[in-house]
Each structure stands twice: as structure tokens, then as C-alpha cells.
């Protein structure tokens, strides 16, 4: 409980509100620009970066091998069988897509809601979204068996009379995910233009000036540029906001429109969206904690960010818990359906019941510690929590996919599921690919938006008494 304590002397705590500050005091426009741009423009790449990059690249190579073998042999190398025709591929697809959601939420929804604290983390959260979508998008493609015919999913005039089934949510996925990927990339890039202009101007190398200059598209920081930039950002935020809901909703339809107990439930759309944001924020923390330490960004990614992200995780985690609870309540107490009843019993206490309890522990039980501010502002504990939640969210998809399929209506068709080495290799490989891309991003692009952080400094505020306006955009 709250107590009336002594005055706070910690400079990282706002004396009026008692909250942690979003940006540490003492920063100027110059110091912010230098702190962020030197990570990119330094000619001395840290050894630790090389080590991480090589490790991530090595793990990504596993993916290459796994996919090559898959193409040569076919999906029989995976553990999928009848009745579990969907296995790791769909689990990983949903998990990765979910992770991407935090980036869109931070960049779009929190922008519309004027949440200033988003500014330090939005850039790398958006990058995370794009890399997660890359990993996610690969799975349905390699799962179709003949990925070279993937373009059949699109409605195009052809002489074969092949036309997509528009009533299938799997087709909706194609449009939802491709739209999501497109908007995410455009949003990410547009948001980066002022910073690319800064990097162009500060780069010492000709090559850097050329590359950053080309992508800065002639940014000069004029008032007209800023007005257009702000308008474009708001419009893209407006476009991206429905995507936060729509993408994972469509993915939930992949399951929910089927008449399978455990899949066919109306709570799926909101609870999938909440779950996506939940895991996405967990991944942002997983990435933010080592990055702020390694690059000494503690002044810009503060405990306020950690605290707020933990609060978002707690909220979305509780929505997810509500979804689980409603499923259990309806199945056991209110559905009056033996199928639903059996599905839930089997999910909890059947041969794969352990997976359900892993997910309950990771997604519901342990995250309740985030009610305590001490946990929310403890870096090691939050890092641990982020890993726990991401594990739990992966298991959630495992439980939904596998435990609903392996014992369906007809006992004679029951089976079981065992993932193969190739399943694991593909999944681990995508973790490598994701990390590999992220290493490239932090090295060559500004991972924290300099222009937006500068606008948050006290110097950037209008001074009402004198009427002077301090320019923040340079």
C-alpha cells in the first residue's frame, strides 16, 4: 500500500508525480543526437556485436538447412500427421505474428493516445515487428508443400480456373498479413526519415553520406517537411491501428470458424489480440534490457519504460486470463455440451495436460508478480518475466493447436503429436534469423528516434510567457 513518504531525491524520479522520468535529466539536443547516432556512425564496431552477430547468423543457418531439406523432401519430415495436420508451423506462425503486434501498438495506438513514453522504444519495436512478420510469413509458405506455387493464393486471372476460396480465413490471412507487413515497413521507414537526415549530415564517410542521404529523400528539416511528416505519421497511425486488431483477429478466425471444440469460441478474437500484445511487449523487454545495457542507453530507456510496459503486459495478460477462464467456465459449467466438456478435461488432464499447466503458470500465475512495482522496475526480474511470458505464449498456441486436434469427435481417429528434430530446427532457426536481422538493425540504423526524443526535452516546449518556441527538429 501507498505510504506518505519523505521527499524523493532520486533525479530519475519526478518529484511531483513520483513516477520515473521518461528521459533522464540533463540531456540536450546535442547529447541525445550524439548518444544515438554514434552507435551507428562509429567506425569501431564493438566486439560483442560481432560475437552476437556471428552466433545469430550461425543459428539462422540452421533454418536454411532445415528449409532446404524440407524443400527437397517434403513436409513429411515434420511431426504433422492426421489428425494433427497443423503442428509447429502454425504454432510458430501465430507466435511470431503475435510478437510483432507490440511494435504496431506502440507506434500507432500509443501515438494516437499521445503517450510520450513510447518514443524511446518505438523504433526498435517497429523493427521487431517487421522481423517477426518475416519469420511468421515464412511458415504458411513452407507449410503448403509446394511453396513455389504460393502465388496461387492471390486472385489473379489465369487459364487454369484456379481461384482462391474467399470464404476461407486462411485466405484472409494472406491479405491481412501482407497488408500488415506493408504498412509496418512504410510506417517504420517514414518515421526514420528525419533521423536518416541527421545520420547523413553527421556521417564522416562518403558511403554513409550517400546511403543515408539517398534514404533520407532530401530531408532538410524545414517547416514544410515537418508538417508533412507529422501528417503522414498520423495518417499511417490511423491506418495501422485497425491492423493491430485485424491481423490477429483474422488469425483467430483460422481456428474459431471451424467447428472444433477448443477452437470454435467467440472470445478468440479479442483474446488473440490481447495475447499478441502481451507476447509482443514481452519481446520488446527481452530486446530492450540487453540493448540498453550494452549500448549504455539507460538514460533514454528508463525504468519508466519498463514499468509502463509491465503494466501493459499485466493488463493484456489479465485479458488473456479472462479468455482462459471463460473457456473453462463455459466448457465445464455452462455449455451443456459433452464435446466442450471433454475437450477442456482433456486439455487440462489428458496426456498433454502438462502443456496446459505450463501455459497457465507462465501466462497467468507468474506474471501476477507484476502487480508489485518492485518487480515492474527490476531489470533482471522483468527480463526473466519477458522470457516466461514468451514461453507461455508459445505454449498457448501449442495447446490450442495440438490438444484440440489430437482428440476430436471420433475416438477411432485419435492420435498424438511428436515434433521432430526438423520442427525444432526450423523454429530455432527463425529465432536465429530474427536476432540476426536485429543485430543488423541496431548497427546500421538509429534504434531510438532522435528527433522524437529531442522533442520530449524541456527545451522543446513552447514557453508560454515569452511566446518563444524552441525548435526541436534539428
Amino acid at each position: 500500500m501507498a505510504t506518505k513518504g519523505a521527499p524523493v531525491n532520486d533525479p530519475m524520479i519526478d518529484p511531483i508525480t513520483g513516477e520515473y522520468v521518461v528521459v533522464a535529466p540533463g540531456h540536450t539536443f546535442k547529447s541525445v543526437t550524439e548518444t544515438i547516432s554514434r552507435i551507428v556512425l562509429t567506425p569501431h564496431t564493438p566486439l560483442g556485436w560481432y560475437a552476437g552477430f556471428a552466433l545469430a547468423g550461425g543459428v539462422a543457418t540452421v533454418l536454411l538447412v532445415a528449409v532446404l531439406y524440407l524443400f527437397l523432401t517434403g513436409v513429411g519430415i515434420w511431426g504433422i500427421t492426421i489428425p494433427i495436420a497443423w503442428g509447429f508451423a502454425i504454432i510458430n506462425f501465430v507466435w511470431w505474428i503475435g510478437i510483432g503486434h507490440a511494435g504496431t501498438l506502440i507506434s500507432a495506438i500509443l501515438l494516437l493516445f499521445k503517450q510520450g513514453w513510447r518514443n524511446s522504444i518505438n523504433r526498435f519495436a517497429e523493427a521487431m515487428t517487421i522481423f517477426a512478420v518475416v519469420c511468421a510469413g515464412m511458415f504458411p509458405l513452407i507449410h503448403v508443400g509446394r511453396p513455389w506455387l504460393g502465388y496461387w493464393l492471390f486472385p489473379y486471372p489465369n487459364t487454369m480456373n484456379v481461384w482462391p476460396q474467399f470464404r476461407s480465413p486462411l485466405l484472409w490471412d494472406v491479405f491481412a498479413v501482407s497488408t500488415y507487413a506493408t504498412i509496418s515497413v512504410v510506417f517504420w521507414y517514414i518515421g526514420m526519415i528525419p533521423d536518416l537526415g541527421t545520420l547523413r549530415d553527421r556521417s564522416k564517410s562518403k558511403f554513409g553520406q550517400f546511403i543515408y542521404g539517398m534514404f533520407a529523400m532530401g530531408w532538410r528539416g524545414s517547416v514544410r517537411h515537418w508538417v508533412r511528416y507529422e501528417t503522414a505519421s498520423l495518417l499511417l497511425a490511423g491506418l495501422a491501428t485497425p491492423l493491430v486488431l485485424s491481423v490477429h483477429t483474422v488469425i483467430s478466425f483460422d481456428f474459431a470458424v471451424a467447428l472444433l471444440p477448443g477452437w470454435h469460441t467467440t472470445i478468440f478474437p479479442p483474446y488473440f489480440v490481447a495475447g499478441a500484445v502481451y507476447s509482443g511487449f514481452a519481446m520488446v523487454i527481452t530486446l530492450a534490457v540487453p540493448i540498453r545495457k550494452f549500448y549504455h542507453l539507460e538514460d533514454l530507456i528508463t525504468l519508466r519504460h519498463l514499468d509502463n510496459m509491465a503494466k501493459v503486459m499485466l493488463t493484456t495478460g489479465l485479458i488473456v486470463a479472462y479468455g482462459y477462464a471463460m473457456e473453462v467456465f463455459m466448457a465445464y459449467c455452462y455449455s451443456a455440451s459433452h464435446w466442450e466438456y471433454f475437450m477442456m478435461w482433456n486439455r487440462m488432464f489428458g496426456p498433454m495436460g502438462w502443456a496446459y499447466w505450463v501455459l497457465i503458470t507462465c501466462n497467468i500465475a507468474l506474471p501476477q508478480f507484476m502487480w508489485f512495482r518492485y518487480v515492474r522496475t527490476s531489470i533482471p526480474l522483468m527480463f526473466l518475466m519477458s522470457l516466461i511470458v514468451n514461453t507461455g505464449m508459445w505454449f498457448e498456441r501449442f495447446v490450442i493447436v495440438v490438444t484440440s486436434l489430437y482428440r476430436d469427435y471420433l475416438p477411432s481417429s485419435w492420435g498424438t503429436y511428436r515434433a521432430t528434430t526438423w520442427d525444432y530446427a526450423t523454429f530455432v532457426g527463425t529465432l536465429g534469423l530474427f536476432t540476426f536481422l536485429f543485430f543488423l538493425f541496431v548497427r546500421f540504423l538509429p534504434m531510438i528516434p532522435m528527433s522524437e526524443i529531442r522533442m520530449m526535452l524541456p527545451q522543446a516546449k513552447v514557453q508560454p510567457e515569452s511566446g518563444n518556441v524552441v525548435e526541436a527538429g534539428h
Partner: protein, 425 residues
Amino acid sequence: MANGHHAKTLPAELNAPAFVAGWRMKALAVGAAFSVIAIILGFLSGDGWNHFLRAWLVGLMLCFGFAVGGMALLMVQYLSGGKWGLLVRRPLEAMSRTLPVAFVYFLPIGFFMKKLYLWAQYPDGKAAYSQHLINAEQAHAIIFKKGILNPTTFWATSIVCFLIWAGFGFLLNSWSLKRDADTEPNVPYWQKKFENISGIGVVTYSILLTACAILWVMSLDPTWYSTVYGLQFLVGQGYAVLALVILTLIGLSNAEPIRTIFRVTEQHDLGKLCFAFTMLNMYLAFASFLIIWSGNSPEEIPWYLDRIRGGWGVIATLDVIFHWLIPFSLLLSRDLKRIKGRLVVVCCIMLFARLWDTFWLVEPNFADARRNLHFSVGILEYIAVPAAMIAFWMAYYFTQLTTRPLVATNDPHVAEILEPEHAHA
């Protein structure tokens, strides 16, 4: 709009303006008039007051939504922070203090539950089925759900819910006054205190509201269930409460103190929040419909067919138009959200949409109306009874508005809200 360069000062008089008493009198007069009409219709309908009770349930859900939903939004603003929270705090507190009215409205539903709920009318499902009073699906559902759908659970759950909400309402309201009376700012202390209770309170609210939505409304058709039903009510309450709170603020902005603190920026923010709830509301409704429609299973689809066929399609279509199409189309406009007169129109449509939607949820549960929308004297009760109930609720709400200052003063947002609007980068 005129923009001064200097910060404004908070008016000395923070109590509700005198015209609120006039609003209360008008509300009482409307309530009395519609009560008379409702009673006359009850006698004329000749249906044993069935429609009166059904309409009463509609009125209950709306007033209960304002009281409990207001309390929930009050807790949400403590958790989310933001200047909009300071503006809406006192109106929301006033809504939360109307819980006793909601409880009084609930009592007739409890006392006359046999007229509304099949499970209360036929507690022995097997016997009722053998006498052909109910069909096999209904009998199966009543037997299976007997542990939940019985008068004892209904009463016990409802009373526990009201008691818990009353506890939260009491603490939130009394602490708010204590906070203002605190001679030192102690912002972190009070912020923590309110955050702590609100965090637990919102979670509790979600669970209790789901229980009430299932027991009071969903169980009107005991054969049907939907896991998203409680969440739909939760979002619906947010939708209605926001509309009402905006109407309240715009009404009060004709005089001090709200005239000074209700800036266009925050009005715009509240409009945006309305837009978000409009989308969220339709999102849940459409997703639920799509899943059940695609599944087309005999256990689920009749619920929608009951509400689409036999003339109900018109009501359903208008529900979408009132609930989503009109507010969505209008709230897209930035100007509209910033012009008081226009925002008032949208908020009125939103409140009407809640009434319309609740009618669509309730009436087709009954055998005489299922897939058979037809005119009867009794159906007019859906206008008269909720109108009377809402009017009396409003009168009580206006009374509560006058009992404490309209602005919470011990809050760091007060200084921010008094700044000139253009001062925010």
C-alpha cells in the same frame, strides 16, 4: 477559438451551477409522465405485465450500466492517467454513487424472475419436458445448468456483486474527497492509493459484470452461450458511459467551473475515445456473429436466427446503423469532435443505440417474439419503461452531481489543464 498566451486560473466556485437543479426537475417530470404511460400500457397490453418486466430488464441494464460502467471508467482513468481523467472524474463519481438506484431497479427482476426466465419457471426440466412445456434442448440446458441457473444462485450472485461494487464505490468516493481535503499535495501517495484500488477494482468489475450479464440477460435463453458475451457488455457500458459523460460535460460547460477547464483539446480526446469504443463494440459484435454464422451449428445459430428472421432483420440492421455506422462516420471528422453541438448529437445517437441494442438482445428470447416481430400494445413498454427508469436515474445522478465540487483540485493535471491549449507540443 480565442487562445490566450497565459494560463487561466481555476474559478473560486467549483460547485455545480444552479441550472443542474432544473435538469433534475425536468428529469423527474419526464420520469413521472412515462411512469404513468408505462402503467397504462401495462393494463392495456393484457399480457400479464410480461412486456413491462422485459422492458424493465432493458431499463435496468442501461441504468446499471451507467452506475457500474461509470465506476469502471473512473478506475480506468486513475490507472491510465491523462488530463481527460480529471475532467470526467466527478461526473463518473456521481454515476458510481447511483448504484443504490440500480439495486432498487434490480429487485423486481429478482422477485418476478419466473416471468422472465425459463429456468426459474421450470426448475424441474425433466418434468416440464415430459409435459411438453419446453423442448428437449431447453430441458437439457436447464438440467445441465441447474447449479448456476437457479433462484438461489441468482439472488446470491447479484447481491454479492452489488455489495462488492458498493464497497469499491464507497472507497473511491470517500478517498476522492479526502484527497482534495489533504493540505499537502502528496500526489504520489494518493496516486498509488487510487492505482492500487483501481487495479483490483477493474479486474473485479470484469468478473462480476460477466456474472451479471450471463445471469440477467444471457440466461433468458438457457440453451445458448457465448464466451465473449460478458466482454460485449463491458465494452457496451464503456460506450454508453462515455457518451453520457460527454453530454454532461458539454451541458455543464455553459457555466463555471467546467467552462474554464473543459478545453477543446480534451473534448477532442474524449471524442476519440468514443470512436475507439464505437469500433471496439462493433468489432466484438461482428466477430461473434461471424464465428457463429460460419459455424452454423444447430446449438448456436438459432440465437441469431431468432434475431434476424421474422422482421427482426430490420431491427438488427438498424442496430448496426445506430451503433456503429452513424457514430463511426460522424466521429471520423476531426471538426465534429471539436464542436460541442455536433458531438452532442452523436452522443445522443450512441445512447439511443444502447437502448435499441438491448431491446434486440432481450425481446427475441421470448416465444411470442422469437422470429416474429409484431406490433402489440405491450411492445410500447420498451419505450415507456426504460424512459421512466432512465429519467429517474438521471434525476438521482444530477442530485449527486450537486453534492461535491465538479473539479478535483489536488491533482497535478489541474495546472496543465489551465494552460493555454497551444502550449503543448
